[in-house]
Assembly symmetry: C2
Homo-oligomer: 577 residues x 2
Amino acid sequence: MNFKRFLPILQWAPKYGRSQATSDMVAAVIVTVMLIPQSLAYALLAGLPAHIGLYASILPLVLYALFGTSRTLSVGPVAVVSLMTAAALAPLAETGSPEYVAGAILLAVMSGLMLTMMGILRLGFLANFLSHPVISGFITASGIVIAASQLKHILGVQASGQNLLTIGQSLVVSLGDTNLPTLLIGSGALLFLVFARKQLKPLLIRSGIGSRLADILTKTAPILAILVTTLVAWLLQLDTQGVRLVGDVPSGLPELTMPSMDWGLWQQLAVSALLISVVGFVESVSVGQTLAAKRRQRIDPDQELIGLGAANLGAGFSGGMPVTGGFSRSVVNFDAGAETPAAGAYAAVGIALATLFLTPAIAFLPQATLAATIIVAVATLIDLPALGRTWRYSRTDFGAMLATIVLTLVHSVEAGIIAGVVLSVGLFLYRTSRPHSAVVGRVPGTEHFRNVQRHKVELCSKVTFLRVDESLYFANARFLEEAVMDLAAGEPELRDLVLVCPAVNLVDASALESLEAINERLKDAGVRLHLSEVKGPVMDRLKRTEFLSHLGGQVFLSTYEAWQALTDSRGPLKDVA
Amino acid sequence: MNFKRFLPILQWAPKYGRSQATSDMVAAVIVTVMLIPQSLAYALLAGLPAHIGLYASILPLVLYALFGTSRTLSVGPVAVVSLMTAAALAPLAETGSPEYVAGAILLAVMSGLMLTMMGILRLGFLANFLSHPVISGFITASGIVIAASQLKHILGVQASGQNLLTIGQSLVVSLGDTNLPTLLIGSGALLFLVFARKQLKPLLIRSGIGSRLADILTKTAPILAILVTTLVAWLLQLDTQGVRLVGDVPSGLPELTMPSMDWGLWQQLAVSALLISVVGFVESVSVGQTLAAKRRQRIDPDQELIGLGAANLGAGFSGGMPVTGGFSRSVVNFDAGAETPAAGAYAAVGIALATLFLTPAIAFLPQATLAATIIVAVATLIDLPALGRTWRYSRTDFGAMLATIVLTLVHSVEAGIIAGVVLSVGLFLYRTSRPHSAVVGRVPGTEHFRNVQRHKVELCSKVTFLRVDESLYFANARFLEEAVMDLAAGEPELRDLVLVCPAVNLVDASALESLEAINERLKDAGVRLHLSEVKGPVMDRLKRTEFLSHLGGQVFLSTYEAWQALTDSRGPLKDVA
């Protein structure tokens, strides 16, 4: 057993020195400042009390540092997973109720178990079936839904809904109840954050601050917004004006929490937990790979599953919500110079300290401020031009992407992602079931053979050469039968048919049966079937069967050899333009 | 609109002459003789009153003659579909009850609608996902279950069950109730039919009868067994001895029947109807293609869906059960010289006459005789050596086949076929998600490049050539990222990486994103990405994107060109054995 593989900390901890510790600690301080508002905001987005977000940012970070393979991934609550958590729990319990919180904890535990199992079974490849257009469409649509869902906090009204239609309807109905002080706080925070994101960095640079420091200062804007609005809310006693604050948060570290053992609840949440696991994994691995590659490091996707699984189990058992590796925080962690996963563990210490000492202050934090930080954060996720790019590049990919976006917007995140996966796998299977094949002829005077429809080549009316540009397996085996029999039915003079196989990497049992059927049918029709340019491994397999002894014709090493053997002076040569 | 395509009868009817009519009528007589016992037997197998089988052999044959494309397919009740019908209805109603019969009629109508819709939408390719090993395993296992299910009729006991375990248990419990006269009739018929199948034909040939006539006479054995045992049952009044007879059958032609409009029932039967449709379609198309090819004719799978859909709608609306093209009858029809689908219509007339005039006699037909004809018929479906052949050829195919067989035997036909399809698609996706790729080097002194692990080739430590042997799409896009980044991480001196793409027929949007990511990550690591031997259509697509302007390196027409441009005297050449 390879301990270093299953416990990646063993790879870096023995060589851990003072300079690395310094770099990691600096990064941890910056990430902590960013993680505090994000934890609170994403808990709010998930419909949970704010402190659940903090709980999900302590133990998971430590566990990921032990089991994860990315040196710079920042694990914790993220926007899309929080939205999916809210969508999964909304039908089951009232937002924020004890049953709702218990559901979030169970989702984290189930997601942790699923990810860990997938890692142990090495099922990381399953994430591949979430194609880029589907993921991109899903994240764009989720971003739009998330932003819409936060408008109620900016306006200070009650509203609900899990998709654009229900959220929009609910907002329109309650627009009249808008709370002016809340709107001022919310839109003020929003404007400040947009300004910080768009203009603060150039301004700082112009005022003589270094580019990297300016970047980091810009990233502290959310915590600044929180400090200022909290102070204002406390000084002006805004809660008496109808401004909703985060309210009392239990002080102290999270305690060991046991997940619900209600089997019915487990069943109800199973699909949601699976989707949260896969989406979280894909998001996390994309970020992790991008950052690792910049330093020529590697991450191991199957071990990442175990790392994220441990993190989610940690989140669940310490009363937190589902977590994964977040994009923006990880980039900040990387840019701030984190060198090992220890940076994550140090950030956990930072959050633990915040949980212990800052919670009295958090009580005065307006929810509108958190909503503003969410809206600004998810705005970067929305990538509508991707629709146009995908449309121009591939209509099938566009179809899967559009279905994902539309269903996510008008129905639910789960319907969106399932439709996307089913459609992209279906379109893929459809495409592979109709492989490209071409009748080829000899380029005059050479040993080369080319598609008759694209090149001027020599043909022989009694011999047809059919090149198949795909491996042969059950999905296209019958298609091959049809293609060959169509050819044979259309060429009454045909005596020999050569399947040219340089692109055939595999012939599975179904395709073998089809080849047997083609051979027999051609025999019945008085045509001999030959093969040429069969790859070594494919030939080895065919030799284990009786196909070669049934074969009406021969197996030729090269197509030119077949041409020489089969087309002699008998056959009139046809020229095709 | 192409009428000839949607109404294939227009293709042959205008040229229909006397000689064809004679051939068709001879074939129709022989098929009718075979179809009468089969119709009755398969109705019994489906748990339906015997006359339902006759009803399903009149209108469907006429409709298939109008809409079907096979000239020789014999449509009607078949064993596997009848078993699936029984399996679908068993949980819903008591065998043979009016609700049960209504369920069978609804299954035929739903299956007819589904097949017609699939035909109109040109979804015939969906049947490709039923791989040969899955179909073969399914038919073998179904044959075993069918044979086992008929033993109760041979023994004259009451028994039930939808899989080997429940049938076996039920038989063991009731073994003590065996009815001796039934056992004599049943085993006598069984022995006679086995003898007829194995030895009668050689015997007839030895006694001077021509081979073809001997063959046809052999095929009449079931009707002979029926005549004799019916006569014996009538003469000896065997029903008073506890021998179960078919009993009174309504005389006269079927009347228009409206299917149930109970929406709940439609939902309950939806999956079963879909499976019956697909399995029936696959069985029918395989037979149809095999026979058509012998005469260099073609069948159109999408139009076949419409033909079979019409046949099933006809079956349902005339009070019959689900039908499809049967293997043994179609072969007999072909051998007997049927030239056009009119043969099927004439056979329908034969069955109609039997329904009008033979039903009083059918009342005395022992069920044990029908059971014997079923057992002998399905024995030919059981192909256990296929397991060994598949095992030797491909472990993945064997896995899908074994799962299908085991689940069909111990659980149900539906579980078996679903497991088979899911497993074979899953294994296929898994396989394509890990495409073959190889680092290639130059064969010394030539312009050819070969796998470094198989050939002695030249390499350059600063340039790596990676050949990818598969189209690039979402299922393997991330795999490519990993393969390339692993390579880059393992070669610290690397400055240029060339992706050699002659086998890449497609680059979808996900793979394009991966190529972009690979390009960016390699840039970050100081490595230029190049492409070589990109196919025309793939290049056309890439030109529509910004990828080529981002590309760190170049696109080379040939790999040798890349070799010349990138490896100069700078790099030390490595020789690899």
